[in-house]
Amino acid sequence: MSDALSMKLTIPAASEFVGVVRLAISGVATRMNYTIEEIEDIKISISEACTNAIQHAYENSDNINENKIEIEATIFSDRLEIIVQDFGKGFDLGILGTDEQKEKSQEKFGLGLGLTFVKSLMDDTEFSSVPGKGTTIKMSKKAPVTA
């Protein structure tokens, strides 16, 4: 769609930047007149996607200046679409929701529910991952209905 407005952010894969992304994306969502509850859903979803990349994509490397996460938010007339992409080790998507994944997540004091939250809180999601190349999480929320 030609009239879509897009914003791109690139952050180091470091936990202190998740709050920055959350703030930026909530600014975009506020501009689109989502309700407070919808904005909270979007904030949690974008945080979960970035956290997933930080905790899993680059777990064997400490070089945060090389380990990047790209976030692209696009405002369409009917939705806000957000793409979170890392360039890390990738993972087997089939593991999502399994006991094995929950156990691995608990080792990092997680719940294993981060991407499940994204699915629950957004209207549409699409996950893709290629071993050795990285993971892309695409999510969208329908635009608020205007009177």
């Binding site: 509850e37 997680g110 529910l113």
Partner: protein
């Protein structure tokens, strides 16, 4: 980058009450986890988490609470969570955590009453 995160602990009727302010995410969780582990190490059976002044929590925060609850459960203990914000309650419901030894209350008095 996250402003104003703090964890304060007080004791009421022998029960530790953990007052948390700010945003609980992957950045602030290690500090919260460290404070909760300190309490667990003192041998307390139960604790109250006051989330009334938090603006945000995600699965990393819930994971830390779940870890605390699992540890306290070994001694038949509980984590009592005080929170009234709809969005915070919603994330607890979506996670299914409320079904375990994690109980939600509208205020500190109600949580303490349950324990004493």
């Amino acid at each position: 980058m996250v402003m104003g995160f703090s964890v304060e602990i007080e004791q009421k009727e022998q029960v530790p009450i953990v007052h948390i302010s700010g945003e609980i995410d992957v950045y602030t969780c290690p500090e919260l986890r460290s404070k909760l582990v300190e309490i667990i190490d003192t041998g307390k059976k139960n604790l109250i988490l006051d989330l009334e002044n938090i603006q945000y929590i995600d699965s990393t925060g819930l994971g830390t609470i779940a870890y605390t609850a699992r540890t306290l459960e070994e001694n038949s203990g509980n984590v009592m969570v005080v929170c009234t914000r709809h969005q915070i309650k919603k994330i607890f419901q979506v996670s299914g955590l409320e079904k375990k030894n994690i109980k939600l209350f509208d205020n500190e008095t109600a949580a303490l009453k349950e324990l004493t």
